[in-house]
Amino acid sequence: MNQKGLSVKSVVAIGIGTAIYVILARFTSIPTGIPNTNIEIVYPFLALLATIYGPIVGFSVGFIGHALSDFLMYGQTWWSWVLATAILGLIIGLYSRKLDLEHGVFTGKQMFFFNLIQLIANLISYVVIAPIGDILIYSEPANKVFLQGVTATATDFIAILILGTILLKAYAATKVKKGSLHKD
C-alpha cells in the first residue's frame, strides 16, 4: 500500500497508547510515603511505547496523553509541561533505533545506554523546556519553576530507571525466537 504519512499502526499506537496513558495517569500513582512524591507509571510506559513504535508515536502520545489526562482530570493543562513530556517521548523514541526489542534482545550494555539517554532526555525536558516555557507563556518566577523541573527530573528518572527497565525487559521476553515452538 502506498502509505503516505503516518502508518495505520502508528495511528492506532498513538490512539490506544494515549488511552492507556490517561488511565495510568489517573489510577496508578504509587505513593512513596514522602508527601507529594509519587512513583508515576506513565513515564516508564511512555518510554516503552516510544521504544517500540519510534519517535513520532513517542512525541504524540506524550503530547496528547499529557494534555488529555490533565484536561480530563483537572480541566486545564500547562502547555510547557505537555511539550516537555512530548520531547521526552521523542528523544527516547529516537534512541529506539539502537535497540532491538522486537527480536527479544535487551543486553546489559543497552540497558545502561537506555538509562543514560533517558536521563539526558529528562534533563532537556524538565530542566530546560518546561521551566523556560513556564516563564515565557505564564510569566512565572524563574527559581520556582526550575526547582519544580529538577524535582520532576529526579522522580521521573528514577521511575523509568526501575519500572521502565523492567517493562522493556519484560517486553523483550515476550518475543518468541524464530522457529522455536513445537508440540511435545
Binding site: 500500500m1 515476550t174 525466537k177 524464530k178 522457529g179 522455536s180 515452538l181 513445537h182 508440540k183 511435545d184
Partner: protein, 569 residues
C-alpha cells in the same frame, strides 16, 4: 467454465515462531458464488487459511510460504492488504477487539467513511443494515456497554455494508444465542443470494451452519485438508467425529438407533430424510430401551440470591433485576438466554466485580462482607473474554498463578497444572507462550487456570464457545467428574445440547429477568419460554417430530440418558 475465485496450489505456511508448518500442502479451489464451510478441530489452521484470503498472511503475519495462493486472480504474496480488502470482507474471530468505532453507528460506517462516501449515503447504508440486523436501538451505544453477542452483530453489520465478492466469517456464531445464530445463518444465506458473493464460513457449530444450504464442507485436521465434499457425502462418512468435530445430533441419533445411513440418499438436513415407517419404528424402539440414570437427592443450599440485580447506568433499558434463587451444593446448573439478557452481569455480581442491589449468601456467609479475593477462595469464575484474565506470558505460569498465590509447594503445582493441561488438551503446548495460541486454545488456558484451583463453586461463562467437539467433551466430562465429587457448577451457555446433556437444572434469562428455573428439558418444551429467551429446540426434537414419534421430548430425554450411560460405562 467458471474460473475459481480462490485457488490454493500446494500451499504451505509456517509462522516465524513455529518450528513446523501450520498449513501443509493445501490444494483447494473455490468458485465464485460458492458457499463453503471450513471445519476442523481447534488449532488445526482454519483461521490461518482465512488470514491468507484477506492478505494478513504475509502482510501482517510473517512466515515461510510455499506454493501459491490466488485470490480473485491476485497472488497474495504480491497483493497488498488494501488491494485484497476490496475482494475479501472479513469478520475476524476475536470480534471483541475488532470493534473500532466509538459508537455502534460509527463502527458500521467505518469502511464507508474510509471510501469517502458522502454523509447521506453513509447514513442510508448504516440505517439499512442496522434495521436488517435489529441494531437500530443500539446505534448510539458505546462498545463497552454491549454484551458479547451484541458486539458480534455489530461487527457483522460493519462488514456487510461493504458488499465484497468474498465474505469470510471466522466463527460468526460463537457468542450468539441459538435463535440469533439461526437468524444469522439465514441472513448470510439471503445476502449471498442478493449479491451473489462467495461465502466462506469457519465454524465449530456444523449443525447450525447446515441449517441452510452449503455447497461443500472442507475439513481440516492438523494443517491438512482431509476432506472436501458436499455435506451429504461427507456426513455419510464417519470423518467428522474422528477428527474431533461434532456431527449433527440427529445423525448420531439415527446411528444409535441402528439406522443404516448408507441406505438414506440425503442426510444433509432433517427435511431431506425419507419418511419411512421402519426408521420411525427403529427410533421408537430404541427410545423405549433407554433407562434414566439415578438422580441424587437431598441437597444443601450453597448460594442463595435475594433480589439480586445491577444497573450499569440510567439509560439502560433492561438492567438485571430481582433475581431470586438458590443454588444447592452439587448442582450442575446451566444459565441460558438471549444476548444481552444479563447472564454475564449475574456472574460478575456473584464474584463481587460489580455492585449488587440485593443480597447474596454463600452457605450462611453474607457475600457482601467478603472481598473479591475472599470470595474467590470459594467461587472460581472463568470470564467470557479470555483476554481479560490472562496476565502471564507462558501457559504454565498462567495456570499456576492461582496456586502460587496460595503458596502451594512448587512440586505439587507442577503435578496439578500438568494434570489440568491434559484435561484441557493443552499439555503439548505447556512450554509455549500464550501469544502463539489460537483463540480457542487461549480460552482453554483460562478454563484450566480456574479448574486447577478446584473451588467449591465453579462458574464458567461460555466455556465451549469456539471449542471443537473433542476438547468440549473432555472439558465437560471433567466438569461432570468434579460435579460427582460434590463440586457445584454453573455454566453460561448458548449450546442447547450442552444444557440438555450435562446440566440438571436451567436458569433462563430474558431482558434482565429470571424467567424460568426448571429442568432443561421442560424449558425447551415450553414454546413461550423458548421464544422469550431466544432459545431453540435441538435437532433431536425435530427428528422425532419428522418421524411422528409419540413424544418427541421423551425421545430427546432418551438420547441424553443414553449418552450419560455411555459416559459412565
Amino acid at each position: 467454465m467458471n474460473k475459481p475465485i480462490i485457488q490454493f496450489k500446494d500451499f504451505s505456511f509456517k509462522y516465524d515462531s513455529q518450528a513446523d508448518p501450520t498449513l501443509k500442502h493445501i490444494n483447494l479451489e473455490i468458485n465464485p458464488g460458492e458457499k463453503i464451510l471450513l471445519a476442523g478441530p481447534s488449532g488445526s489452521g482454519k483461521s490461518t487459511i482465512g488470514r491468507c484470503l484477506n492478505g494478513l498472511i504475509p502482510n501482517v503475519d510473517h512466515g515461510e510460504l510455499k506454493g501459491t495462493c490466488l485470490v480473485n486472480g491476485k497472488d497474495i504474496t504480491k497483493a497488498s492488504l488494501f488491494d485484497l480488502s476490496f475482494t475479501t470482507s472479513t469478520i475476524l474471530q476475536d470480534s471483541d477487539s475488532q470493534f473500532i468505532g466509538m459508537t455502534v453507528g460509527e463502527d458500521i460506517a467505518f469502511s464507508l467513511e474510509n471510501d469517502c462516501f458522502t454523509r447521506e449515503t453513509i447514513h442510508q447504508n448504516v440505517d439499512r443494515w442496522a434495521t436488517e440486523l435489529k441494531l437500530k436501538d443500539l446505534l448510539k451505544q458505546a462498545p463497552q456497554t454491549l454484551s458479547g453477542g451484541q458486539k458480534q452483530m455489530v461487527v457483522l453489520a460493519g462488514v456487510l455494508v461493504d458488499e465484497s465478492p468474498i465474505l469470510l466469517f471466522d466463527e460468526p456464531l460463537a457468542n450468539l444465542d441459538p435463535a440469533t445464530g439461526l437468524k444469522t445463518i439465514q441472513l448470510i444465506d439471503q445476502i449471498q443470494k442478493e449479491v451473489n458473493a462467495t461465502v466462506i464460513i469457519i465454524e465449530h457449530r456444523v449443525e447450525e451452519v447446515l441449517a441452510r444450504h452449503v455447497d461443500r464442507i472442507v475439513l481440516i485436521s492438523d494443517g491438512e485438508i482431509i476432506a472436501d465434499k458436499a455435506p451429504n457425502a461427507l456426513l455419510h462418512q464417519d470423518l467428522l467425529e474422528s477428527v474431533g468435530v461434532r456431527s449433527p445430533l440427529y445423525i448420531k441419533a439415527l446411528e444409535k438407533a441402528g439406522v443404516d445411513l448408507k441406505q438414506l440418499p440425503d442426510i444433509s438436513s432433517i427435511d431431506a430424510l425419507p419418511e419411512e415407517k421402519n426408521i420411525a419404528e427403529k427410533l421408537q424402539s430404541w427410545e423405549n430401551k433407554q433407562v434414566p440414570p439415578k438422580q441424587k437427592t437431598e441437597k444443601q443450599p450453597l448460594l442463595t440470591l435475594k433480589n439480586v440485580g445491577h444497573r450499569y447506568n440510567k439509560l439502560q433499558k433492561h438492567p438485571l433485576h430481582d433475581v431470586n434463587l438458590t443454588i444447592n451444593q452439587g448442582d450442575f446448573v446451566s444459565i441460558v438466554g438471549q444476548n444481552g439478557a444479563g447472564k454475564t452481569t449475574l456472574c460478575r455480581i456473584i464474584c463481587g466485580f460489580i455492585e449488587n442491589e440485593g443480597q447474596a449468601f454463600f452457605k450462611d456467609q453474607n457475600l457482601a462482607d467478603l472481598s473479591i479475593k475472599e470470595r474467590a477462595e470459594k467461587i472460581g469464575y472463568v470470564m467470557q473474554d479470555p483476554n481479560q484474565m490472562i496476565s502471564q506470558k507462558m501457559i504454565f505460569d498462567e495456570v499456576a498463578l492461582g496456586l502460587r498465590l496460595r503458596n502451594v509447594p512448587e512440586e505439587e503445582i507442577k503435578d496439578r497444572v500438568y494434570q489440568t493441561l491434559k484435561v484441557c488438551g493443552l499439555y503439548a503446548f505447556r512450554k509455549w507462550p500464550i501469544s502463539a495460541l489460537s483463540f480457542g486454545q487461549k480460552k482453554r488456558v483460562t478454563i484450566a487456570s480456574i479448574l486447577v484451583l478446584e473451588p467449591e463453586l465453579i462458574i464458567l461463562d461460555e466455556p465451549t464457545a469456539g471449542q471443537d467437539w473433542k476438547t468440549y467433551t473432555d472439558i465437560m466430562n471433567f466438569l461432570r467428574e468434579l460435579n460427582q465429587r460434590d463440586k457445584t457448577i454453573m455454566i453460561v451457555t448458548h449450546d442447547m445440547h450442552l444444557m440438555l446433556e450435562y446440566s440438571k437444572r436451567s436458569l433462563a434469562f430474558a431482558n434482565g429477568q429470571l424467567i424460568a428455573d426448571t429442568k432443561p428439558i421442560d424449558l425447551l418444551t415450553n414454546a413461550d419460554l423458548v421464544k422469550e429467551a431466544s432459545l431453540k429446540q435441538t435437532s433431536l426434537f425435530e427428528l422425532a417430530k419428522h418421524y411422528n414419534l409419540t413424544d418427541p421430548n421423551a425421545f430427546v430425554q432418551a438420547y441424553i440418558d443414553s449418552e450419560e450411560a455411555s459416559q459412565h460405562a
